[in-house]
Symmetry: none
Subunit: 193 residues, 4 copies
DNA sequence: TATGAATGAGGCTTCATTCAT
DNA sequence: AATGAATGAAGCCTCATTCAT
């Protein structure tokens, strides 16, 4: 399906080189098609971008939703750690989605700044709920010291954001993993005591 | 004068709209000059960008260096907290520099990916040393529990990166500051106990 | 059915927006069909245009021919006036045909300038004969003063052309009709005295 | 001056081939310049067209205004006849202006239908006043029979419009002139008697 | 009878860049 | 120190047209 190939290639190139840095001709070429063929499937560059963006967001939100599933049997600590690991895996297995989402979360093209901000706030709310539930579970378990939930959630979200940043920032996986583990250990340490 | 104004406007626009999304004509227009005037001061677009980039990095490194100064009189906790606050102030007082640095740290234009990576690793090393010194001080003070320094440094760097991300991500300053304080409190909690 | 609908829509759009200003896709869309369907009925854009053009000319010539019929019982003055009225009615009842004919009489697309000129000269000859017959009748009746027939024919044709122009030029029907009547009255006045 | 050459060539080509039928590249080529040079002088195709249009209208209105001048010494008949002749001369001496004005009076590109209609109504008012003055003069002279001025004005404007149409319609000058003279003679005949 | 998919040609426009002044 | 004039390259997009189905 040309239409899907276009979406995939577009996601990768938009993620790597940005909206303005990606020519439709490049996308077409990689798909093995001439540029005007794009217009058979998408209205224009913006439409292609928006389609890709929506899919990326859906996929990312799906990932967030999955974070909350299948964790019932784990204790809070393992669940939280697993979220970090899953985020890491998500980045590794879906480099195009990840790069795309990160890029346009921070640097949306001006023509859809608002749309994008709303979409990301939505994801943020989803994620916050997932974390909250786990924190509450930890407190009930007794593994997390009784204290303000908001406080614990904020710190964990910061940890996630920091890991996100570092994943794209540090080239070496080893280094990244060490930092990730150390940061989580410190978090858990603070959460318990 | 014109040369500097060009640099300033270029930094802002490159930061806001990206390298490909910024036309030299826009830069010239904001400065109140015609496009060819740029070529009197800079070889070409890349040269202007590189000049701006170097200045941004110097400025950013200066900021990092200043973090280590004037902290002798403070205890470790206050010093570390002050770093977070200073980072926040730096972003607020120098939005153009900050946005530029963040953008090109994560998404360098392909023609200078390597150069930029080196520059950022350099800054990272600088920053790591500053943190390390403070951690060691804290251990010597006895306010930080004796444990692996690397461990504490990694977690603090993660905290800084997370805060960086959130600063640009969250629109509201209040929300950002709450999250920042909560995350630091958790960090310090973990560091002591 | 589709073939005829295509012809109708094409006539209207070619008349309103010109040959170059009308895309085959627009025509197809209005007919409720995809563009390639056009090629099942017509060889290409030119062919569609020519088909439309021929029909418009036939229809217009039919109108001219009808002008000479059913007028036997009327006197010359009424017959001539009736021609003006019929022209007016023709424009009102067949706005698409009229606009099309006017547009391509004055501004033929370059690829068929000659063809079109011939077609219009043919219509002109037809019309001239009709007028001539009525003038002669008028002179025989004694209602038109005896004088050069050519002279009277030329003036009447000018009257017709002027009315044509004004019909498309003036937006208001009332204004147009007043002008038409005044112009004819003056013509008849000159013809008699 | 490239800018003026562009205007001249644009007027001719827009007049001959229509707005959609004229490529900027053609205009540029005839001027001896590459297409993007047009954008140094005009914002875009519409702007070039509008500039040409405004100039054509100004020029045409100037022509109309001049019709009323230098006619004091002539009697009404000669003045009116002279208007027809001058219109003829105007068409002959300024074929580009004339064709352009005629084309866009009848078939404005959709994006400026309203603007153009207003402009032409303005010209129409100007012209009507000129004719009116001459008719009144003729009645005062006693050369025109006393009757409704409106009636005489309408008929003369019809004569002018008819002549306009025929000028562009009939290829042969001789034929055109014969028709013109015959039509005017008939008009004057009707006006006097 | 009609469409889905695709393309070549070409149009409008922007942009970095040059060069004479 | 800066601009007016111009261009080559390239980008987005439209359109007539084709062809397999």
């Amino acid at each position: 399906m040309t239409k899907n190939k276009l979406k995939e290639v577009a996601m990768r190139l938009f993620g790597e080189k940005g909206y303005d840095g990606t020519a439709l001709s490049e996308i077409a070429k990689e798909v093995g098609v001439k540029t005007p063929a794009i217009y058979f499937f998408y209205e224009n560059k913006e439409d292609l971008f928006m389609t890709v963006f929506k899919e990326a967001m859906e996929f990312y939100n799906l990932f967030i939703q999955e974070l909350s599933e299948d964790q019932a049997e784990l204790n809070a600590k393992d669940s939280l750690y697993r979220i970090l690991i899953r985020q890491h895996h998500f980045y590794q297995k879906n480099p195009e989605y990840s790069l795309f989402v990160l890029r346009y979360m921070l640097f949306p093209p001006s023509f859809l700044k608002e749309t994008i901000e709303k979409a990301f706030l939505h994801s943020d709310v989803l994620l916050t709920k997932v974390i909250e539930a786990l924190i509450v579970q930890g407190i009930q378990e007794g593994t997390i010291r009784e204290q303000s939930v908001e406080f614990l959630v904020d710190a964990f979200l910061n940890l996630l954001d920091g890991s996100c940043m570092q994943y794209f920032y540090y080239p070496s996986t080893e280094l990244y993993e060490r930092k990730l583990n150390n940061a989580f250990a410190m978090y858990w340490n603070g959460a318990c005591s």
